[in-house]
């Protein structure tokens, strides 16, 4: 069921684009049922988390890597799940009225939103760290897309990129941390890791893992100094800001810190890092919020500060792990409860405030505090919502925010008792700083309400006169502030259902829900917390009255920020540095790149050969050397060496051809008749092709433009490659760690495939799949040649080249006028074709086969063309060679798949021996049919290439 719950938003998101045909309905209505249904579903699971049993579901995914889709729903997850679906439903409702129906990209907006919803559910339900990480990054992607929703605006793109870079940086750090945890415990499951927490503490990787995981949490939850992305994320549409950037996604970091508490809480570093970072963020955010003039920026900094508050509480709460089972332990655990309570409150009041700001923006067309004021009379309901939300945020009675604020103060005051560090007197700073931050919080809450709604209406600065928003737009924030009041009335009911199970889950196995229970009341007597609140109100009012005199308001809210400058500078440095570094070696010269590749080959292969043990160069029983073999090799090498020195193209081509013929003879000597046959024909056809192509090119000049030093480098690289390959050859001879599989082919060739020519049997039967693809490659190459020659020919303006092109069209340049050749070739062609037919049928048992026969046939046709001209050949033999290739491929594939009909795998062949009248005992195998396909394809390809290059079709 849990898996289905995560999957549902993704599936729904896939359906949204299909709504294109229904333009009359706002797509938001179609989305709304998803979060609503999920909310109801998860509410139904509340009793099970209350009792502490939770829900567990697991689907194996990659068991070998320890990665399973295991989901856990406990009190802490449930709280988040309800926030995601509950606030999600309200935000979708609100967006229906906020986002105009006419916007063309509205559907993609909801696709992103649903994608976020699904991935966020995945984050808070995953028990497996790898799955959690995947969903975590998906939320970053969704956030990126939503911030950049108005992607035509420069600031939207900037904000989206910034949030992406910072959160993904943290995400990667977290990923590394997760893997360190895996290294230490051998498990990715949070529960299993937590069970081993006691053994972890002393591990040398413990602290690095903790810091890396915290980096992920801090960047996601916009903790100081990673907070800078959140104000820029306010470029997103307001429903998104309310949903992702205050209620849910930014709380993922808090979720993770609390989730990992059972693993890390025993370490004092955890306590210090988490609580101090939280405290710093709280103070910094609240102070910066006062200076903002943009309402959304104010809310952004307020969110940063409130996230810091909760983070700080979670850190302090972790101190309970130092005092297990004592009164103090329970007392520190209270901080966790406060964190949970405030998390709920924050989601409620901040969600409503964002919606209020959205309404103001919607009605007045501005969010600038300097232009706003006096909206109280025009928009009374909105004002009432803002008032309740702000007072709850400021921590004033009788709203729920007051209760969690009091608990926060209590925890901060209580921290004096944390004696393990031996610095009790410094601990009072926690309470003082927290109090100062609360004063700032109070001040900006007042600014938010009274600068917007109080004072005089500045009619001249507004485009139009604002009106009260529609009922639909107001419904969602009204519901939220009603909740704020409702929670204040029945705090203990809320505690019973949600807070206690969540706090118990965070505290780990030590506490059950009822043990974690804290009774929440408005009146505790004249406690220090109450006096602190009174002080906040007094000083806050004074500050609010006087703060304009400090000239805080007329400062620009962005750009001067040190951390923003740092971020921008780093980004620029990274860009320019990366470009400079890349330009250093990516020069654009293909030869340069080739040299890199070759040098890598030399280093990797050569290095391995030299340094790995057990590699032996050379062998004991070399084959005997004969005089003429040495002669052949020398001729071959001399021909090869002549190629670079050749002055004319034709010479270079002929020298290369000579190398090929020497290789042919070597094949023959080395007992490879099939190879010799093939090589000989291919060499002949190749040389003809070479000459065809390069007959009309300008004379081959020595590359004078190249500097000699560069050539030296080429020579050195070439020599290094040559030496490496020689070493490879010697090493391969000297050391064979595995038994060769060739014996199998020799033994099975006749038994299983009915052929005596093992090479041919391997080609058409054992490794038939290779051959099938090979002829396909050939077919593709011939089509490529055809395309390049026939399609879109653009001739260079060079008159010389144009003249040559005209010459080319006049006729086949190699037509011979030799009468002897013309007479003889008629006979010879017949002989060659007959011989090729023999080769084809003999192929299975004797040297020969489809390839060789095809090349033989093709060379016969080329001989005809040389003697009588292409046009004659075309007229006499009317064959479409492209069609021939296609036919060949079809036959090969059909033969190969034919074995399916008999229930055998692809390319299974059958064979039998028959007694035929003339041929005697003939063996017929389906492999021959396959070979026929190869034959046709290859003949087609070769002729197609020749005719295409000739330029006549």
């Amino acid at each position: 069921m849990l898996h289905a719950a995560i999957l549902l938003p993704f599936l729904w998101a896939a359906l949204i684009p299909l709504m294109k045909g229904l333009p009359r309905i706002h797509p938001g209505w179609a989305v709304l049922p998803v979060p609503a249904a999920l909310f109801v579903f998860f509410i139904g699971l509340l009793p099970r988390t209350r009792s502490g049993e939770g829900v567990f579901a697991s689907i194996p995914w990659m068991p070998g890597l320890g990665i399973d889709l295991s989901l856990v729903l406990d009190g802490w997850s449930l709280l988040f799940v309800l926030l995601i679906t509950g606030i999600g439903a309200l935000v979708v409702w609100y967006s229906v009225f906020y986002m105009g129906k006419g916007m063309e990209s509205l559907r993609s907006f909801y696709v992103y939103l649903l994608m976020f919803m699904g991935s966020m559910l995945g984050v808070v339900l995953s028990d497996n760290l790898m799955v959690l990480y995947a969903f975590w990054e998906l939320t970053s992607v969704a956030s990126f897309l939503l911030i950049a929703f108005w992607y035509r605006r420069e600031r939207s793109r900037y904000g989206a990129l910034k949030s992406m870079l910072i959160t993904v940086f943290g995400g990667l750090a977290m990923f590394a941390g997760f893997n360190l945890l895996y290294v230490m415990t051998g498990s990715y499951s949070i529960r299993e890791i937590a069970a081993q927490a006691a053994d972890l503490a002393g591990h040398s990787l413990f602290l690095p893992a903790m810091i890396l995981v915290l980096l992920g949490a801090f960047t996601k939850s916009a903790q100081f100094p990673f907070h800078i992305w959140l104000p820029d994320a306010m470029e997103a549409p307001t429903p998104v800001s309310a949903y992702l950037h205050s209620a849910t996604m930014v709380k993922a970091g808090l979720y993770l810190v609390a989730r990992m508490s059972p693993v890390f809480a025993g370490a004092s570093e955890w306590f210090w890092i988490v609580s101090l970072t939280g405290l710093a963020t709280l103070l910094y955010g609240s102070f910066k919020a006062i200076k903002q003039t943009d309402l959304k920026a104010l809310l952004a900094y307020s969110t940063i500060s409130q996230l810091g508050l909760i983070m700080c509480l979670l850190g302090v709460g972790s101190a309970s792990a130092f005092f297990p089972g004592t009164v103090q332990g329970v007392f520190f655990g209270l901080a966790t409860t406060a964190a949970v309570f405030h998390l709920i409150n924050h989601a409620v009041f901040k969600g409503s405030l964002f919606m209020v700001v959205g309404i103001v923006d919607h009605e007045a067309n501005t969010r600038d505090l300097r232009n706003l004021g006096g909206l109280m009379r025009l928009m009374p309901v909105t004002f009432a919502i803002a008032l309740i939300g702000s007072f709850s945020m400021a921590g004033l009675p009788p709203f729920a925010g007051f209760l969690s604020k009091e608990m926060f103060f209590a925890a901060m005051v209580n921290i004096r008792n944390f004696s393990s560090a031996g610095a009790e007197s410094w601990m009072i700073l926690f309470a003082i700083l927290a109090w100062a931050a609360s004063v700032f919080t109070f001040v900006y809450s007042l600014i938010l309400v009274f600068k917007t709604f109080g004072g005089k209406l500045q009619r001249e600065k507004l485009d139009n006169i604002p009106h009260e928003a529609s009922v639909g737009l107001l419904a969602a924030p009204v519901l939220l502030v009603l909740l704020a009041v409702f929670f204040a009335i029945i705090p203990n009911g809320l505690a019973y259902a949600l807070i206690d199970p969540a706090a118990a889950a965070v505290n780990g196995a030590g506490l059950t829900a009822s043990e974690a229970h804290v009774s929440i009341h408005f009146w505790h007597g004249w406690t220090p917390e109450l006096f602190m609140t009174l002080g906040v109100v007094l000083l806050g009012v004074v500050l609010y009255r006087t703060y304009t005199r400090f000239r805080l308001l007329d400062r620009e809210w962005n750009g001067r920020d040190t951390f923003n400058r740092l971020y921008n500078g780093l980004l620029k440095l990274l860009e320019s540095g990366g470009r400079r570094g890349t330009d250093l070696y990516m020069t654009g010269s293909v030869r340069r790149y080739l040299i890199y590749i070759l040098l890598f080959l030399v280093a990797a292969v050569g290095g391995t050969l030299v340094f790995s043990p057990g590699v032996r160069f050379g062998m004991d029983n070399y084959a005997p050397i004969t005089f003429y073999e040495v002669g052949l090799v020398i001729v071959m090498l001399v021909s090869a060496a002549a190629v670079p020195f050749a002055r004319s193209r034709v010479n270079a081509i002929l020298f290369t051809g000579s190398v090929g013929y020497m290789v042919t003879v070597l094949f023959l000597i080395f007992r490879a008749p099939d190879l010799a046959l093939t090589q000989m024909i291919v060499e002949t056809v190749s040389v003809i092709l070479f000459l065809l192509c390069f007959k009309y090119l300008p004379k081959l000049k020595k590359d004078r433009t190249e500097k000699p030093t560069f050539k030296w480098l080429n020579l050195i690289v070439a020599a290094a490659v040559g030496v490496t390959v020689t070493l490879v050859a010697l090493a391969a001879m000297g050391s064979s760690p595995f038994e060769p599989i060739s014996e199998y082919f020799l033994e099975e060739s006749y038994e299983s495939a009915g052929g005596k020519n093992v090479v041919n049997v391997i080609l058409v039967d054992f490794r038939g799949f290779d051959t099938l693809f090979e002829i396909m490659v050939l077919g593709i190459a011939s089509l490529g040649i055809y395309g390049m020659t026939k399609l879109g020919v653009k001739t260079a303006p060079d008159p010389e080249a144009a003249g040559k092109a005209a010459m080319r069209k006049q006729g086949f340049p190699l037509v011979s006028s030799d009468v002897v050749l013309r007479t003889l070739s008629k006979v010879i062609v017949l002989i060659i074709i007959t011989f090729s037919l023999y080769l084809f049928f003999a192929g299975h048992n004797n040297p020969g086969g489809g390839f060789i026969a095809a090349l033989m046939t093709a060379s016969a046709l080329i001989l005809l063309a040389v003697s009588f001209g292409m046009d004659t050949v075309r007229r006499v033999i009317r064959v479409d060679y492209r069609l021939m290739t296609a036919t060949g491929l079809t036959i090969a594939i059909l033969t190969a798949s034919g074995s399916f009909l008999f229930g055998f795998p692809f390319l299974s062949h059958a064979f039998g021996h028959f007694h035929l009248p003339i041929l005697g005992d003939t063996e017929l195998a389906t492999a021959v049919l396959f070979d026929l396909g190869v034959y046709l394809a290859v003949v087609g390809v070769v002729m197609n290439i020749i005719f295409t290059i000739k330029g006549e079709d």
Binding site: A672, A729, D770
Partner: protein, 116 residues
């Protein structure tokens, strides 16, 4: 015999690589041809030379030469024929459109934004 072939293969590779690193398209193509020859001989040599008869059953003796490298090489010969033909035409077209068969650093593929 094998060590001679190993050295010969090395020399073929050296010349082939040297040609590939030059500017002229024709020389590059000829270089790939020489490399291909080198690879074929390398495959054949690695299995050991002249051990037994040609791998056609019944042609005599108990021992046969290793058929597997031969099958690989046969495939390679035909493929490299197709590829070489493609290279030719590519070079030919390059000459037709640009009036030269040399690749110049200025015309070479340049990575980065300038291209788009």
């Amino acid at each position: 015999m094998e060590w001679i072939m190993a050295v010969a293969v090395g020399v073929l590779f050296m010349i082939g690589v040297y040609l590939i690193l030059s500017k002229s398209l024709l020389r590059i193509i000829l270089g790939t041809s020489l490399l291909t020859h080198g690879v074929h001989l390398l495959l054949l040599t690695m299995a050991g030379l002249k051990r037994g008869a040609a791998p056609v059953l019944g042609s005599g003796g108990d021992a046969y030469a290793d058929p597997l490298p031969q099958a690989l090489i046969l495939t390679s010969i035909v493929i490299s024929f197709g590829v070489t033909a493609l290279y030719f035409v590519l070079a030919y077209r390059a000459y037709q459109t640009r009036g030269t068969d040399e690749i110049d650093a200025a015309d070479e593929v340049r990575g980065g934004e300038e291209e788009s």
